[in-house]
Subunit: 304 residues, 2 copies
C-alpha cells in the first residue's frame, strides 16, 4: 500500500509530458484535456476535483498528479453555472469602523484561503429603502455561497430572514466593534447540519458517522437533528453505533477518530459538530497514515 499500481503511474506521467510538449501555445488546460490525457471521462476527473469517494484510489491519485503536473485549475464560473452555486462569499456591511472591517476581512480570508472561495465586499446603506431588496439581488444574482454580516446590518432581522429564505449560509457578527474581540453567531444550526448531510450524501457517501457534543449543548442537538433530516432525504439511515459523543475539544476528536477507524464496516465520512473535533479526527487519521478525503471524508460544522 501507499503506492498505486505502477502501470497507472507511468501512464499519467507520460500524459503530463505529452501535454507540456504539445502545448506550445500556452493554452490553459480544461477538464477535457485532463480527461483525454488520462484516458478517462470528464466525469471521472470531475469526481476527483470534487473529492468524491466514488473513484478508485489509483485512478484518483494518478489524475491528481496529472492535474498538478499540467497545472490545471477548474473554472469556477463553469463549475458554478453547472451546479447552480458559486465560489464566492459576500460581506455586507454598513460603514463600521475601517479597522474593524479590515480585521474581519482578513479573518474570513484566512479561512477561505486554499479553498478556492473568494470574498466579495458589499458596503450598503441600511437606511435606504431598497436596502433589503438590493442585498437580496446581490446574493441571488451572485449565487453567494455564504454571507458575512457585520454589526449594524447583522442586527437586521429582515435581512436574516431573506438569507434563510434563499437558503444561503450566513454569519452574523455581533459585538460593538472597538474591542478586537469577534464573537460570531451562527444562527442556523439546524439548516447547517442538514446542508452538511446533503453535501456528504451527494458526494456518494453511504456510511457516515457523526460526532456530537455534550448532550447539554442545545446547538449540538440541533445540528444533529438537522443532519439526520438531511440524510433521510437521501434515504440514508444513521445507525446508533455511528453516533459518537465528544465535548467539542480537539482531544475528544482525536480519541473518537481512532474509535471510528475501528468501526466495521468503516464509515466513509464523518460529521463533527464543530471544527475542533474535526481537526482531532483528521489528526487521528494522520496517525494511522491515511489522509482524507482519499479514504475518509471529514466535515466540520463551523468550517466555512
Amino acid at each position: 500500500m501507499g503506492r498505486t499500481s505502477r502501470k497507472s503511474e507511468i501512464d499519467f506521467v507520460a500524459a503530463a509530458r505529452r501535454w507540456t510538449e504539445n502545448n506550445k501555445d500556452g493554452r490553459k488546460p480544461t477538464i477535457r484535456d485532463v480527461a483525454e490525457l488520462a484516458g478517462v471521462s470528464k466525469k471521472t476527473v470531475s469526481r476527483v476535483i470534487n473529492n468524491s469517494p466514488l473513484v478508485n484510489a489509483a485512478t484518483r491519485s494518478g489524475i491528481q498528479g496529472l492535474i498538478r503536473d499540467i497545472g490545471y485549475q477548474p473554472d469556477p464560473q463553469a463549475r458554478g453555472l453547472a451546479s447552480k452555486r458559486s465560489f464566492l462569499v459576500g460581506m455586507i456591511s454598513d460603514n463600521p469602523t475601517p479597522q474593524y472591517v479590515v480585521n474581519i476581512q482578513h479573518g474570513i480570508l484566512d479561512v477561505l484561503r486554499k479553498t478556492g472561495y473568494e470574498l466579495v465586499v458589499h458596503p450598503c446603506d441600511r437606511k435606504s429603502d431598497t436596502f433589503i431588496e438590493d442585498a437580496r439581488r446581490f446574493i441571488e444574482v451572485q449565487k453567494l455561497y455564504g454571507v458575512i454580516l457585520t454589526p449594524s446590518v447583522s442586527e437586521d432581522e429582515r435581512l436574516a430572514e431573506v438569507m434563510r429564505e434563499l437558503g444561503c449560509a450566513y454569519v452574523r457578527i455581533a459585538s460593538i466593534a472597538l474591542d478586537m474581540e469577534r464573537r460570531m453567531i451562527v444562527t442556523n444550526d439546524r439548516v447547517g447540519g442538514r446542508e452538511a448531510a446533503r453535501h456528504l450524501a451527494k458526494l456518494g457517501h453511504k456510511r457516515i458517522a457523526v460526532i456530537v457534543g455534550r448532550r447539554s449543548f442545545r446547538s449540538s442537538h440541533e445540528r444533529r437533528a438537522g443532519f439526520e433530516e438531511g440524510l433521510a432525504e437521501y434515504g440514508i439511515s444513521l445507525p446508533t453505533e455511528y453516533v459518537l459523543q465528544g465535548d467539542y475539544t480537539f482531544e475528544s476528536g482525536l480519541a473518537l477518530g481512532s474509535q471510528i477507524l475501528d468501526l466495521d464496516p468503516a464509515p466513509t465520512a464523518v460529521f463533527a459538530s464543530n471544527d475542533e473535533m474535526a481537526a482531532g479526527v483528521l489528526q487521528a487519521l494522520h496517525v494511522v497514515g491515511q489522509t482524507p478525503p482519499n479514504s475518509l471524508s471529514v466535515v466540520g460544522f463551523d468550517d466555512f
Copy 2:
C-alpha cells in the same frame, strides 16, 4: 417618434403579464424565458442586454420593458463563461493602513455600482516567494476584468508586467497613504485605447467618432493611436472628420457633442479620451432628447 410601434408595446406588456401569472413557483427568469415571451431569439435578447446597436429601436425598448417587468437579471456566471471574461474587479493589497484600504474600496465600489461588477478583495504577502504566482492565478482563474493595486504592491514591476501579459486592465495607486489623497495612475494608455476600440467594434459599430485631448498631451496621443490600432483590427477606418479635438473638460465635451450630432452620416459611437468629455457628450445628447445607447454609444476612457 419617441413612441415605438403600438403593436409591439402591447405584445410585450401582455407577455409580461403572462409571465407573472404562470410563474407561481417563483422561478428566476432566464434569457430563454425572455426570448420566448418576446417572441424573438435568445441572441436578440442578448444584444439588448449588451447594448448592441444591432437592434431595432422598437424591439429594444419592448424587450427592455419586458425585462424590467418580469425582473430578469442576466446570470454573470453564464455570461462570463460564454464570453471568457468575468464581472469581477480585484483589489490586491499588502497590508496598508485599514483606513486607506476601506477608502479605496468605497471609491471603487462607487464607480462599479450600477455596472453589475463586483469587487473581490485579495490581501497578500509581497514578501512571499509565491506572491507573483499567486496573484497571477487569482487573476487568471477568476478572469478578472481589472485589478486595483494599492501602495506597496502597486510598486511591484513584476506584477505590472503580469497584468500586461494577461491583458488585464489595472490601476496602480500611488501616494503613501496617510493623506486621503488618492492619485491614480493608469499606465496602459495605448492598451486602453485599443480595448475601447475593440469593444465598440465588437458591438457592431462601424462609424465611430473620436474626441482627443490637446495635442500637447502625450497620453491623449497614445490613446488615440491605440484606438486606431484597435479599429484597424476590425477593418474600420477613422475618417479625419470624425476626429475632434477637446481639452479634457466637460464643456468641451458638451460642445463637441452637438458638433458630432450634426455629422453626416452620424456616427453610432463616440470615443472620448477621458470621462469628463464623455459626460459632456452625454449631456449634449440629453439636450437633443436622445439617450444612449439607443442611438449613440459613448465610451469614456478613464471609466472603469
